[in-house]
Symmetry: C2
Subunit: 461 residues, 2 copies
């Protein structure tokens, strides 16, 4: 098929949209390691996790054998409101870069939450509603997840309590206001409303918060409130399952036009977008049906894959959550204050960590000034104002396309454009004014974080 026959944007028809999520764990020979109870160090089972998560979500969290899981009709109906998302051929970017590479991106920003996070938010809210719960609690950093969950809870008329990392709460009043539009309550974290929040405040009076802190608070509230459960927007197996809708739509669209990606690129914080995008492609590779290059792109200031340890660690700062085996910088790690945008979690999805450890996926880190250069270049030719997070993937995609210009190779590059940057203009402003700086943590700084990784037999330090 010639280029001319491929439209700028490929939209699937409603009837071509996925009816099942794909669970990549089912095709992994060596499975991701299970969550461990922080007290007993034993694998967490269904009953252990039920006080925290909705029942059906616990089942999904633990299920590493079922390859396809049906998407309930109610969720598929909601998906229809903002999905399918377009698979875009970046003709203008290709021209600007003067590259023989063919660049595609799956754009997940065309919904009010502004990112792919809504794909899992609506699923988690649905199962909470179905279980007859009153509401859910969660944390949010940059605010994309909190916004997505607010929208989903509003749709199902569930109460939604969001703990927002204090620095973001203060820097992004408009993010908070969008959540209020959808009826959520938003509390800056750490707060006086929880035991763990008060403890953290007492120990670190001036702290501006972290995702890890906010998780601890949200979990405490969920487990201490009748009719509430905790939900999380990334890292978890269930989230990658829901996000597989991104990859499934992408694969259907590509198959329809006979397109085969050579390189698949995604930004990686907790791994929700990357995991979702690559899942069906990785599945093919795990089954020996195809070969792809997968590249995870993370910030140099929060380099869990490229500089972290593969070990069991706490998912939260307050150390109330289960232990997960993952690439981690230590649950106390907080990225440098000059870090803009999301991708600031200390760990990484156990699924992606395992795939990376098995050598099935590459990882690279990029610095934020080069990320914003790529963002601006992309915005000017492709018309979409990308989120800083998404721009990590753009940076890597541009770099790969430029390599093709050197080598003359006509590679097909696919990347995930997870969201829009409307609420990140303060960071763009810094960039425009030449005030944006990079910061790469020293080995010494990283090893301080590693000290927090729990010590027990068999856990690498």
């Amino acid at each position: 098929m010639t280029n001319r026959e491929i439209p700028y944007k490929i939209y699937l028809e409603e009837k071509e949209m996925p009816e099942k999520w794909y669970n990549v764990r089912a095709d992994m020979k060596k499975k991701p390691s299970p969550l461990l109870h922080p007290g007993t160090l034993k694998p967490m089972g269904y009953e252990d996790l039920r006080p925290v998560f909705c029942d059906e979500l616990v089942r999904q969290e633990l299920d590493d054998v079922t390859p396809y899981i049906e998407i309930p009709q109610e969720i598929r109906d909601f998906y229809k409101m903002y999905r399918p998302s377009p698979l875009v051929r970046a003709y203008c970017l290709e021209k600007k870069l003067d590259t023989p590479a063919k660049i595609y991106y799956k754009f997940e920003g065309n919904n009010t939450s502004g990112s792919h996070k809504l794909n899992s938010a609506i699923a988690q809210a649905y199962y909470a509603k179905k279980q007859g719960l009153k509401g859910v609690t969660t944390e949010t950093g940059a605010g994309q997840w909190g916004t997505a969950l607010s929208m989903a809870c509003s749709y199902f008329e569930l109460d939604c309590k969001v703990y927002m990392v204090k620095v973001s709460y203060e820097q992004k009043p408009f993010r908070r206001e969008v959540m209020r539009t959808y009826g959520a309550s938003v509390t800056p974290s750490p707060s006086e409303t929880t035991e763990v929040g008060r403890k953290i405040l007492a120990e670190h009076p001036g702290t501006t918060g972290s995702l890890g802190c906010a998780i601890s608070e949200a979990v405490e509230v969920a487990t201490h409130s009748e009719g509430y459960r905790y939900v999380l927007g990334s890292v978890l197996n269930q989230v990658l399952l829901h996000q597989s809708v991104i990859g499934l739509e992408t694969k259907t669209a590509m198959d329809k036009y006979g397109i085969r990606p050579d390189i698949i690129i995604g930004c990686a914080g907790g791994g929700s977008n990357l995991g979702g995008l690559i899942s069906p492609f990785m599945g093919e590779q795990l089954r020996g049906e195809a070969q792809y290059r997968f590249i995870a792109v993370e910030p140099a200031s929060c380099p869990s894959l490229t500089r972290g340890k593969y070990a069991y660690d706490f998912c939260d700062t307050g150390m109330v959550c289960p232990l997960a085996k993952m690439y981690t910088l230590g649950s106390g790690f907080i990225p440098s204050a000059n870090h803009a945008g999301g991708l600031r979690y200390h760990g990484m999805s156990s699924v992606l960590s395992e795939l990376y450890d098995q050598g099935l996926m590459e990882a690279r880190s990029v610095e934020q000034t080069e990320v914003f250069e790529a963002a601006e270049q992309f915005a000017r030719v492709e018309g979409i104002l990308p989120a800083p997070e998404s721009s990590h993937a753009i940076r890597a995609a541009i770099d790969e396309a430029l390599k093709c210009r050197e080598s003359g190779e006509e590679k097909t590059i696919l990347f995930g454009l997870t969201g829009t940057g409307y609420f990140d203009m303060a960071a763009y402003e810094k960039f425009h004014n030449g005030e944006m700086t990079d910061y790469i943590p020293t080995d010494g700084e990283l090893s301080a974080g590693f000290d927090g990784i729990p010590k027990f037999a068999g856990n690498p330090q």
Copy 2:
């Protein structure tokens, strides 16, 4: 066709996208009145307008006989980056309102400028580039038009000078920053950079600016700079022509599924969106092929159609622009300080003014608190966070749907959802905090504005 067969979102295929704009003036028996020279009071011809607008745009401005005008391939290529826009069946809103009405909206917010303004911005930038110009100047109020033009100029590598109403410039630093991302220079208006700006500042030292002031400044800079022309995002005939792409896509999508709207609703500031949306439907009505109800919705605080005079008036505060026959509040009119969002122009497109005067279109005004109530209700069920401007149309659509609930009529309601409200969260915050107020200008206040309408034989006062 049953409801179940109509998808939530109808996306046309690339090959179904319009190849020609539709010029509704060609089908009007009584044409809109021509622009008059402010000195001679004679109709402005091609040579008179060339110093201000690009040659091809002057031709489009003056052409009231050609029904279809080809969309150049370069513009169609750009349209493909963000169009077709979806025609959405508001299933969730219908359910929430418990109405037998069928509600559709054409959503124009799925591009970084966040609104329909890009449809004309790219056309105007294209013709400027084709004419070999260096750049263009313009004004922007709430910022949607300036953002759209910045994107379009960035795409064609044209210089872009934006005069932004001072109050918006100060209240919306992020809007400014998006424009900078696309390489535009943004100056708060009135400014010291123009003669007319200095004059206005001397007369009204504390002024926070108005669209009319900003237009005067942008026109002065364009006409005094070699290789520059002025461009405008609404009001003009050429803009309505370009915006007809909205209506044409809508009509194609509706025809494809056998849907026929009974009521077509749009918000109206200068008239760009409403004019574009209704054009092909109005054309049918003018040719006697169909009958529709058209409703223009404007803010009660800036009620040009419902309370203005139909007279020749200046398009700008500085009175340097041609006179246009339109429904006007007087070129010195500035909406109350509590007015949020756009739709603050003192006049209205000559085309729409004439259609309204002929009784072919209805108009109503709504107050902003009821507009934000509709916005929030819509956001919670349909998932899209609407711009305050667009929410005027939502308000009227909901009101019509509620009438259907009373009467049991299964009317089909179509409205234009022009854009998103990401940069309007300060207004949403006021609304959430109960601090938003309404203001309806008194007759006395309006008559002060009317005093500014130029007096000459045959011009109603």
